[in-house]
Amino acid sequence: MMPGTALPFDFNRESLMADASGALYWPDQKTLVVADLHLEKGSAYAKNGSHLPPYDSRETLRRLALAIDAYGPTRVICLGDSFHDDDAAGRLPDDDRATLQAMTAAMDWIWIAGNHDPAPPAGIDGLTTAEFRAGELIFRHEARKRSSPGEVSGHFHPKAGVNARGRRVTGRCFVADGKRLILPAFGAYTGGLDVHDPAIESLLQDKYTVLICGRARVHRIPREVVRRREAAEETREPRLI
């Protein structure tokens, strides 16, 4: 997960960079965009007896800090579902909370409201809004069926796989058609939904591009190569949601 190894691409007349960490960088506006951090997802499961390691926020923030160090943005946009639930911000361990507070205080910070976190996070800096516009782009949590061009969103946690040399390789991915761009989830505990899932595919025009995050690089994969996921693949891991 090494930032700085980004793939440049054009979207709605803007030049953007897809980072292997799953972050998007917009050089003209010195803006870093991340989606679906799901902070404190781990502790959200604890009340049902699944004591997941309480390190997901720490890990997510560590990766975010690396991306910030690599690009030096003046503005960060979090595309919603930044917190896993209403009181996730309140559950942040003190260290992690201090880390996040330092980040949000140091630059313009936009919290797009998501379905998991409709309200502003208590006691943490930043502007909470449903939408944010800049340049030719509009940022919101969930893509709309009818949207003007230039929509950048998260929510769906897209991932994609290709079959190569008889093996299947999968990764989180960016997916873009001419009008909209969907970012992969950035959170340490966030899984993925195959881009062929109707929930995602029905939003996209026929021709779309998939940018898969590898270990150190981002790969542009034409849609025809992306191997269709069969329903079965979703069951690979025990399900917690």
Partner: protein, 829 residues
């Protein structure tokens, strides 16, 4: 009665040593039992009487006897006598079997002596299939004898009424102990036994086992205090007399493949000549193909059936029923029939494919004849030339009566975590008392108090260094220092997730708008494209798609299927047998015992490359397709090769050779990469054990798989049940992500310790590897070839198991893109 031919088949000859010993122990058998034996025209086996004697002195006993020794009756005889003569209050004897079906079968056979002697004994089974109503009744009014499985026993012990149910328990019969000791189901059973011991201190144990190479370790496992001396060991009878031969075929022996299709006409001839034949294969895919091919040549329309673990339960039960009635001539089966069920009379056992292990082969062969005084007849059918060597080696081993197998390893910490929670659901426990209790189980005898406390902390609140989940504890601490389950919800969660078997994800297979046929592993279904054909449940199917977690198929004509590749039952070869194969290869003088074609094959290898020799390590390298292969003939066993494969790929990764994968068998390790290996000596340098081992341990995908199992068993994440599948936009939870995060932030967490222990238990054989690398230093015979060598063919067919991570992923992603670009641009104007 399982493994007790006399109950099913009256013996014509009652003389011999069995009868002699009965006379030495006059009065050991009460009159009505002696009369019953006599009325059937039988005499008790000496070990049956020895068990009776041991039981009367309250001793825990381990009976090791070959199949056909009447073991199970031996186990029950003392209980029947005790209950019949002295009466019983409630549950007297608990019988535990590794198989549900075996418990049911034993129950049926147990009814015979009970009914015929009119004994005042009640017996019942309890498994996952037992109705809710019957289970409730069993807890209220337990039968005198309860036949069950380790999982059902764990569940019983998790209830608050366990002390009442088990307080009068006098005896636990553990059947097929060799199949449980050393795995996680066995770990769980061992822990449950310590609890039973606490509830009923008077209870004695009877272990029943097939012949094993490590009787002492098995004694410790059965013992109430993990000490071999506490157990009275009875070894019943010598090895089974057997006539084993290798099948001679008209067709040429294949160079590769595992299906032995070439030999099936001859196998069919054998079936026709015998009364009843059991055809054992190693994998489910083999079972399907062999079954299909046998029917192709079945001109006489003989009733030949198929039995393997992927088939629907009703289908399996139908076959089992027909076999018991004696209405079948042959059954093609995987290890699903290795244990247990007592078929009427099996005249012949056919082993298709490599035997993989001597002990296991002896057990399979023991299914034929099935009585101590009848020699077992068996035919080995090698599927390729390499397997001929293995069959030859196995026959030598049987003749020389050498056994294989590893003694049981220390128990899993994840299983302990589940046990701790289960005990907390039954009654409050004090950590001091529970620790003292569990270290009486052999798999946990060495566990330290600190490890135990870490496990308890994990169960309670996750046991993390950063912070504990104090608000959402799973245990409630009581003022007297004991702990109990924090809420009924926590107890329910435990019971829903009980057990140590974490199944590979499978999908149901059904005919479109038709019947349900069975299940296939998910990755197999994922590899199918609509229109692909495959053989399943003995018929040709066309893949129509996946709907709602079910593979839909239609019946298809034709006979060239895409072979089902699901691995059900893939077993590693024992190192003992591997050593024997190596010895055969190294001595051309010994090749006289091999078929001509195989001798020829070895001679061609000698000409095209070299033969592996004891004094040097043979390494071949050659290009194939767009990859470069490096094949090393190490003969150190599959475990050591697995580790070696991971270390080699790691080292190649660093050297920029872009390794893509490796595959290990017991003989050979093959690695393939995008770039060729030039310096073999450097690649195999022994310092890799120090440099790379730890780093590898932490990163491999094998560890992630192990972690997933540990996390489920320990109760960190819940099992998934059918009907709970994710729908629409819900997002899956990925245990790999948890693993990566936990490893970075708390590398010594108890679950990671448990994961590493399991991985070491399953995959590493470091000292063997170290010895091999040391011997290879300066002694590597490197042959650069322009194509695959005869000896390397079999391993190339094994490819496709271990995933390689790292830069190869990026390379492959690039290539996938480029392939398409090339395709799209070729021929463009």
């Amino acid at each position: 009665m399982r493994a007790n031919a006399p109950l099913k088949r009256p013996r014509r000859d009652n003389g011999g040593p069995d009868g002699q010993l009965a006379i030495d122990l006059p009065g050991a058998l009460p009159d009505r039992f002696a009369d019953w034996f006599a009325s059937r025209g039988w005499r008790p086996h000496p070990h049956q009487l020895a068990l009776l004697d041991a039981a009367s002195r309250g001793k825990t006993t381990l009976l090791i006897a070959p199949t056909g020794g009447g073991k199970t009756l031996a186990g029950f005889l003392p209980s029947l006598v005790e209950i019949a003569e002295g009466g019983a209050r409630g549950l007297h004897t608990l019988y535990i079997s590794p198989l549900k079906a075996l418990a049911v079968d034993v129950h049926r056979n147990l009814q015979m002596p009970i009914e015929e002697m009119g004994l005042p004994v009640t017996a019942d089974t309890r498994t996952g299939d037992t109705s809710q109503h019957r289970r409730k009744r069993q807890r209220e009014t337990p039968p005198n004898i309860l036949l069950t499985t380790p999982e059902s026993l764990t569940l019983l012990l998790s209830y608050a009424d366990a002390p009442r149910m088990f307080r009068n328990l006098r005896c636990v019969v553990l059947d097929e102990v060799h199949a449980l000791a050393g795995n996680k189901r066995g770990d769980q059973l061992a822990l449950c036994l310590t609890r039973l011991q606490a509830l009923a201190p008077e209870c004695r144990r009877v272990g029943l086992s097939a012949t094993v190479a490590w009787p002492d370790a098995l004694c410790r496992w059965v013992a109430p205090d993990a000490k071999a001396d506490s157990v009275h060991l009875i070894e019943g009878g010598g090895a089974v007399d057997s006539e084993v031969r290798m099948l001679v075929t008209r067709e040429k022996m294949p160079w590769s493949g595992h299906m032995a299709v070439h030999a099936l006409p001859e196998v069919y001839d054998e079936i026709r000549k015998a009364g009843t034949t059991l055809v054992f294969v190693n994998t489910r895919a083999q079972a399907e193909i062999v079954f299909q091919e046998l029917w192709r040549v079945n001109d006489d329309n003989l009733p030949i059936a198929l039995h393997h673990g992927s088939l629907a339960r009703e289908q399996r039960q139908k076959v089992e029923g027909a076999m018991a009635e004696g209405s079948l001539r042959a059954v093609v089966a995987t290890s699903s029939l290795d244990l247990g069920i007592d078929w009427a009379a099996i005249d012949l056992v056919v082993q298709v494919g490599a035997p993989k292990g001597v002990s296991r082969l002896i057990q399979r062969i023991g299914r034929a004849g099935h009585r101590l005084d009848t020699p077992s007849r068996a035919v080995l059918v090698p599927a390729n030339r390499f397997e001929v060597l293995e069959c030859r080696a196995a026959m030598d081993a049987i003749r020389e009566e050498t056994l294989d197998g590893e003694p049981p390893q220390p128990g899993g910490l994840d299983v302990l975590a589940q046990h701790v929670m289960a005990m907390a659901c039954s009654a409050p426990f004090h950590p001091d008392a529970l620790y003292a209790e569990i270290i009486r189980a052999a798999p946990y005898a060495e566990i330290t108090r600190a490890e135990f406390d870490d496990v308890v902390a994990f169960v309670d609140h996750g046991g993390y260094a950063l912070r504990s989940y104090d608000r959402w504890r799973r245990l409630e601490a009581l003022p007297d220092g004991t702990y109990r389950a924090a809420s009924p919800a926590m107890a329910r969660r435990l019971r829903m997730n009980l057990g140590t078997i974490v199944e590979a994800n499978t999908l149901k297979v059904r005919i479109k708008r038709g019947p349900f046929l069975g299940e296939v592993e998910e990755y197999f279904a994922l590899g199918l494209e609509i229109g692909d054909t495959f053989i399943f449940s003995g018929q040709m199917l066309r893949f129509e798609g996946i709907r709602e977690m079910t593979v839909e198929a239609s019946r298809a004509p034709g006979d060239a299927p895409k072979v089902p590749a699901y691995v059900g039952g893939r077993l590693p070869l024992t190192t003992h047998l591997a050593d024997r194969v190596r010895a055969i290869l190294a001595r051309p003088a010994a090749w006289g015992a091999l078929p001509d074609q195989v001798r020829e094959w070895l001679n061609i290898q000698l000409w095209a490359s070299s033969l592996p020799e004891p004094s040097a390590l043979l390494v071949e390298s050659f290009p194939r397709g767009d990859k470069h292969f490096t094949v090393a003939y190490c003969f150190e066993g599959r475990n050591a090769h697995q580790t070696l494969g991971m270390l080699l790929t790691r080292r190649m990764e660093r050297a920029g050779l872009a390794p893509l994968g490796f595959v290990a068998t017991d003989y050979v390790i093959a690695v393939w990469s995008l770039k060729p290996v030039s310096n073999v000596a450097e690649l195999f340098d022994e310092d890799m054990l120090g440099d790379d081992l730890e780093a590898w341990m932490d990163e491999s995908s094998m560890l992630k798989r192990t972690f997933r199992n540990v996390a489920v068993i320990a109760g960190l994440i819940e099992r998934q049940y059918p009907g709970q599948q994710k729908t629409g936009r819900q997002v899956t939870f990925n245990s790999d992500l948890i693993y990566d995060t936990l490893r970075r932030h708390e590398p010594n967490h108890i679950l990671l310790q448990a994961t590493r222990r399991d991985a070491a238990r399953g995959l590493t054989d470091i000292s063997r590897l170290a010895g091999m690398l040391k011997r290879a230093k300066g002694n590597i015979l490197h042959r650069r070839l322009d194509r695959v060598s005869p000896l390397a063919v079999p391993i190339l067919l094994e490819i496709g198991k271990e995933r390689v991570e790292g830069s190869a992923i990026d390379l492959m992603l690039d290539e996938a893109a480029q392939e398409l670009i090339a395709e799209a641009t070729t021929g463009a104007p």
